[in-house]
């Protein structure tokens, strides 16, 4: 079955073309049907491939489609690679992607048909790009998908293009990604120069003993900068919260199934190189941790329901990078998976709330939604418990795995990570309480319109909620039940060579029990505190002051970037525009004007007088004669 892996990206591509080209012809129903069916078909194929991959003794399969770049000694083929890691990502992307597609048919129903079709074609293209990214058997295919998701995020964040702010957000996402992509591309070139190949298999065998530590550190750092752009880490994270400008299902798609997981995937895929470059790993761990705690602290004081979730994604991605940095590759991929479920669930739940509130996103004006929309409430509740890391929801297992590896690496990493997860529990329960508990604080008109969302919205929510409850049991840690970590056994072949070089340490079982119980108790305490503190919230008592104001303004990072980077560049561009451009214009326009002037003069020679022409001809002949004879 894995020979037919090209079908997986093919279906969304066909969907994109059919819907995109037929956007003025297709009805909404047909568009929705094609959009969902293509991704569902990919999901079915992915499941079949997964079934093959999980049989014991499966060897990675490379499916070569055609020669892509073939010049001189360089031979890059358009090839897909099926192994444990890519097949797991296929399931996440197509599975969560299908649910988001189904959800979108209802959420976007008020759009005009051709905008509806445009939306679905972009959505399919997004899924296609992401599939290309995870399926590629070399860094070039990965990079094509990498750029593809960047483009699609731009198109979808700026989907409502008549709004200038949304366009600005889309541009910001695109440009920030480009900055990372530049480093990523240089990293790829360096790999090519160093190893003479871009195929994963070749690169990973050659990098063991084939390159010195500084070279590997350089390459891995450059690749990691690319990942900071795509996966929203310090310093390139500010685009992700602004990406909320797009429709809510798009946010769910970007945050859960595609785009931001690309960086994690890329590093997990290149795990051998990273394991051989401990310096880079340390950088990744520190940056991941800083991002996790910074974003979590910002999320505490956000009042936009989607912004809270966006910062929470940034923070969760930080945990994943922390996992990668301490060598817990399985833990990071595990967290990607569980995060995909509960973050998609939370975003789609937020979309359902926004839908019911008629576009209102400020949680201060919500409250008491529990009795109006029970399905959304209960599923959101599951998502909150999962992300906060409460036993036995999915987030508990994956986060616990990352944190215990961090502890084995360095207890400080664990302590700071635990602090971040306490923040997470606090802001998530604040969000839950403000949105669903207490009294309704919006206008009477809004209250009148409150309703539970239709089935196309609630069914994906219920499915995701079930996944968010049970996905964690795929990774039961060793100390609770030996040999029950299904995911680790499944992924072991991918990370085998890394484990040989440097086995990721985990603490002694006794210590792990203590760590888990301490973190669970603390999280439970903070959750209850957050719950009770905001349960009876009646409205903003006063303007935020002091530290809260700094958090509300996101540590002023945007303002800092604005002052340090944007404004100087603007000033330079203004200067160039005003003075240098004028000089260049003068030269170029002068050349043009000279030609125009001289042709105006020469035109006078064309009098149409036959006699004059003949005379000139005779003079010419005489001159030629003279030249011939005398010179």
């Amino acid at each position: 079955m894995s020979q037919f892996v090209y079908l997986v990206p093919l279906f969304p591509l066909v969907g994109f073309l059919v819907i995109g080209l037929g956007r003025n012809v297709l009805s909404r129903t047909l568009t929705g049907l094609i959009g969902c069916a293509t991704v569902l078909a990919s999901f079915v194929v992915s499941v079949m491939i997964f079934n093959e991959v999980r049989t014991p003794g499966f060897m990675p399969v490379t499916v070569r489609l055609f020669d892509f770049i073939h010049t001189g000694s360089l031979n890059i083929s358009f090839a897909f690679q099926v192994d444990q890691l890519s097949s797991l990502f296929l399931l996440i992307i197509t599975g969560v992607g299908s649910l988001i597609h189904i959800y979108s048919t209802s959420y976007m129903h008020e759009e005009k048909p051709h905008h509806f079709a445009r939306y679905f074609s972009y959505l399919n293209l997004f899924v296609f790009s992401m599939l290309l990214l995870v399926l590629g058997a070399n860094y070039v295919i990965l990079f094509i998908g990498w750029e593809g998701v960047g483009l699609c995020s731009y198109l979808l964040i700026g989907f409502w293009f008549t709004n200038g702010d949304y366009n600005y957000a889309a541009r910001k996402a695109f440009i920030m990604n480009r900055i990372g992509d530049l480093a990523f591309l240089i990293g790829i070139f360096w790999i090519l120069a160093q190893f003479g190949s871009l195929n994963y298999a070749d690169v990973f065998t050659r990098c063991q003993g084939g390159a010195t530590a500084p070279v590997l550190t350089g390459i891995t750092l450059l690749l990691f900068i690319g990942a900071t752009g795509k996966s929203a880490q310090i310093p390139l994270y500010t685009w992700l919260p602004d990406a909320m400008a797009g429709p809510t299902p798009v946010s769910a798609l970007i945050h859960a199934a595609t785009m931001v997981t690309a960086g994690i995937y890329m590093i997990a895929r290149s795990n051998v190189m990273y394991t051989l470059a401990p310096a880079t790993q340390a950088v990744i761990a520190v940056i991941g941790l800083c991002t996790a705690i910074l974003a979590a602290s910002i999320a505490i004081q956000q009042n936009d329901i989607k912004k809270v979730l966006a910062y929470s994604t940034v923070s969760q991605l930080g945990y994943m990078f922390l996992g990668l940095g301490v060598g817990a590759y399985t833990g990071a991929v595990f967290h990607v998976m569980t995060h995909a479920f509960f973050k998609a669930l939370l975003f789609l739940g937020a979309g359902s709330v926004i839908h019911a509130m008629g576009g209102e996103q400020d949680i201060r004006k919500m409250g008491g939604l529990r009795k109006y929309m029970p399905v959304t409430y209960w599923t959101f509740w599951v998502g909150t418990f999962a992300i906060a890391g409460i036993f036995p929801f999915a987030g508990f297992f994956s986060k616990d795995e990352i944190l215990s590896h961090a502890y084995a690496h360095n207890p400080v990493l664990y302590a700071v990570g635990l602090l971040g997860s306490l923040f997470t529990a606090f802001y998530m329960f604040r969000l839950l309480s403000l949105t669903f508990l207490g009294k309704f604080r919006g206008t009477h008109e809004q209250e009148h319109h409150l309703h539970e969302s239709p089935a196309a919205i609630t069914i994906p929510l219920v499915i995701l909620a079930v996944l968010a409850i049970f996905a964690g049991f795929l990774g039961i840690p060793e100390y609770i039940k030996p040999d029950a970590h299904i995911l680790e056994k499944f992924l072991a072949p991918v990370f085998a060579s890394s484990q040989e070089i440097a086995a990721s340490a985990s603490p002694a079982p006794g210590t792990e029990w203590v760590l888990t119980i301490v973190s669970l108790l603390l999280i439970a305490a903070v959750s209850i505190w957050g719950w009770t503190k905001f349960k009876g919230y009646t409205g903003p008592a006063k303007e935020a002051t002091g530290f809260a104001k700094i958090l509300e303004n996101k540590w002023y990072v945007d303002e800092l970037y604005d002052a340090v980077i944007v404004r100087p560049i603007n000033a330079l561009a203004g200067f160039l525009n005003k003075y240098v451009e004028r000089g260049l214009d003068g030269i170029v326009n002068g050349a043009g004007r000279l030609v125009q002037y001289s042709s105006r003069q020469i035109r006078l020679l064309q009098s149409g007088q036959v006699g004059a022409y003949v005379l000139l001809m005779v003079i010419g002949v005489i001159i030629l004669f003279i030249v011939q004879i005398f010179l």
Binding site: V610, G611, V618
Partner: protein, 112 residues
């Protein structure tokens, strides 16, 4: 007869032709002057070829045909000139039909 006389006659005929082409405005006269120039050249070709042939005959015997090529050229020129005249006259006829004149200066309105 010395060759110089032919050369002088050729130059005179050619100059008359050039002057005519340059100064006259009647298309037919211009045409005739062009013919005059062509024939001045023809005359020279014949004269030079004759002279060349005599020189060659002196060295290689009376049966030699060296130096007669010039006279063949004359026929080529005549044929081409005849073809040119047939086209040119057709143009002049059309010009007369359209403008009731064969004044070449009239043609400068073609540029508008």
């Amino acid at each position: 007869m010395p060759i110089n006389n032919y050369i002088f006659l050729g130059i005179i005929l050619f100059c008359i032709g050039v002057t005519g082409v340059l100064t006259r405005r009647n298309a037919i006269i211009i045409f005739m002057c062009i013919e005059l120039m062509l024939n001045a050249v023809n005359l020279l070709l014949v004269a030079f070829s004759k002279m060349h042939h005599q020189v060659a005959a002196l060295h290689q015997g009376a049966a030699s045909t060296v130096g007669t090529e010039g006279q063949i050229f004359v026929f080529f020129i005549m044929v081409v000139a005849a073809a040119e005249v047939s086209v040119g006259l057709a143009i002049i006829v059309m010009m007369y039909r359209n403008t009731h004149s064969v004044d070449v200066n009239f043609l400068n309105r073609l540029k508008h």
